[in-house]
């Protein structure tokens, strides 16, 4: 009787321990996706701010070094393929493979130059990330506010997850989506001119800056 109850006790202990182990396994975050979009973009924005605030990189001589660093952050955070496809949308198929590649390259340069100019004009603004929402399984929107001395500018990022990495595919400033804005411009040009003309215009624009 004693042995039986002893072995029963032991069995119960083992069962208890097993249950504890299984529960612990489920309690561990196996797939952390909540908060990832916001964490990702916040990290990159902070990286940019660090470069801008770095006392070692102040002054005209350090401008190139600053730009190089910021370019590499851009290349990490923007998904240029998504950007290109979404801004051309229906017109994407009008471009052949080489033209598509050139478009992506030129658009990257255009966007980078535009953002670089705005970022280098940075003085003291603070960026406040205040909301994150999932738009679908692999898309999210992260909302932020840029606080200048006189204004509060809402800046939202739309992000897409590819290969477990979150990248930005649209920036919405004061309700104006960058993708939609470029799409309407490209649409207008391509309704009258062939893809090569658009590439020519882009080439000229990028070379000017």
């Amino acid at each position: 009787m004693n042995e039986q109850s002893k072995s029963m006790g032991m069995k119960r202990q083992i069962l208890g321990l097993t249950m504890l182990a299984v529960m612990a396994l489920f309690a561990l975050p196996l797939h952390v996706s909540a908060g990832m979009p916001q964490q990702t973009i916040e990290a990159y924005v902070n990286k940019v701010l660090d470069v801008l605030r770095n006392p070692a990189l102040k002054g005209e001589s350090a401008k190139e070094a600053k730009e190089e660093k910021i370019w590499s952050i851009f290349d990490d955070i923007f998904d240029y393929t998504e950007l290109s496809k979404r801004t051309l949308s229906r017109n994407w198929n009008k471009f052949n493979g080489d033209q598509q590649k050139e478009f992506e390259d030129l658009f990257r340069k255009l966007l980078g130059n535009v953002y670089m100019d705005r970022i280098l004009a940075y003085k003291d603004e603070k960026v406040l990330f205040h909301k994150e929402s999932m738009l679908s399984d692999n898309k999210a929107e992260v909302q932020s506010k840029v606080l200048t001395g006189a204004n509060e500018i809402p800046m939202d990022y739309r992000m897409i997850a590819k290969n477990d990495q979150w990248k930005v595919y649209d920036v919405i400033i004061e309700g104006v989506s960058m993708i939609k804005n470029y799409r309407s411009q490209f649409n207008n040009i391509l309704s009258k001119k062939p893809p090569d003309e658009l590439l020519k215009i882009l080439r000229k624009k990028v070379d000017k800056s």
């Binding site: 393929t81 590819k162 309407s184 624009k205």
Partner: protein, 278 residues
């Protein structure tokens, strides 16, 4: 039997209300989009506030090819009709020259003479003066909380804020509703944009928003200043003060755009759409 007519009237009113309620943008949809305690993100891409018969804008449906080759969600861009394109383009060039030749140099000089703190005071003062416009539009859209917020902010800033020069209401999120105007009110009521129009001096607008501007001008205290030259001078001063904070923005927009005219037109429509939705 005597109460039958009144019952019919009540029933009829209920039916009408229920029909309107199905249109989320009607004035009888009492739901307020703005909640000071939580931020609600903007809604979908499709312009629901435009009833079919009023839609003079073309909507293009774009199917975006994804990397995997399969078709992703369809994103609808609402283009605006631009029947007076040549007038608009002309006005765009006029305003462009006006900015670079007159407004920007004056604003720069002004910015150099007056420190930011003083300019912010002026900005706050004029913002406070525009209270009637925002307040009335909140009421017309049945946005009770926003109207209360506007009133609270006006009272606080006018008294504790020294006639609007300071902005003590900044600390209270409940006293910071989204700006409303008559153009947005019409949008809420289901009026479509109409078509795009660029006014000299005033800049981009639409048929709907222009009518809104006229209506709002009756609620603008500066309009009633005598003589008329003083009224215009005050408005000009307000414009120069506002511009002093935004020097560089217009240039950046032109820099970023392949076609600035289209870019501004599209940005204006998107921006107003968002404001109507808030």
């Amino acid at each position: 039997m005597k109460c039958l007519p009144s019952a019919v009237v009540i029933l009829g009113v209920c039916l009408i209300i229920s029909v309107f309620k199905m249109n989320p943008s009607s004035p009888l949809a009492w739901g307020e989009a703005w909640d000071p305690d939580s931020q609600k993100k903007g809604s979908s891409v499709v312009d629901e506030s435009v009833p079919a018969r009023m839609k003079t804008a073309r909507a293009t449906v774009d199917v975006v090819p994804s990397a995997a080759g399969e078709e992703e969600e369809e994103e609808e861009i609402v283009e605006i009709a631009d029947p007076i394109y040549y007038w608009n383009k002309g006005m765009y060039h006029f305003n462009d020259k006006l900015y670079f030749w007159i407004l920007k140099p004056v604003a720069r000089g002004y910015r150099w003479t007056l420190p930011e703190g003083a300019r912010k005071g002026v900005k706050n003062f004029f913002y406070n003066l525009a209270f009637p416009v925002r307040f009335v539009s909140c009421l017309l859209q049945a946005k009770g909380r926003a109207a209360a917020g506007e009133l609270g902010r006006f009272v606080l800033n006018t008294t504790a804020g020294m006639f609007g020069l300071a902005n003590p209401a900044k600390e209270h999120p409940a006293l910071h509703p989204p700006d409303e105007d008559l153009g947005q009110t019409f949008g809420r009521w289901g009026v479509g944009n109409g078509f795009y129009v660029v006014w000299p001096f005033l800049g981009p607008s639409t048929l709907r928003d222009s009518v809104g501007l006229v209506g709002d001008s009756f609620l603008d205290p500066v309009r009633y200043v005598e003589p008329m030259e003083a009224s215009i001078a005050i408005t000009a001063g307000d414009t120069i003060n506002e511009t002093s904070f935004k020097i560089g923005d217009y240039e950046a927009l032109k820099d970023a755009a392949l076609d600035p005219y289209i870019s501004i037109r599209d940005a204006y429509v998107q921006h107003r759409k968002k404001k109507v939705q808030e």
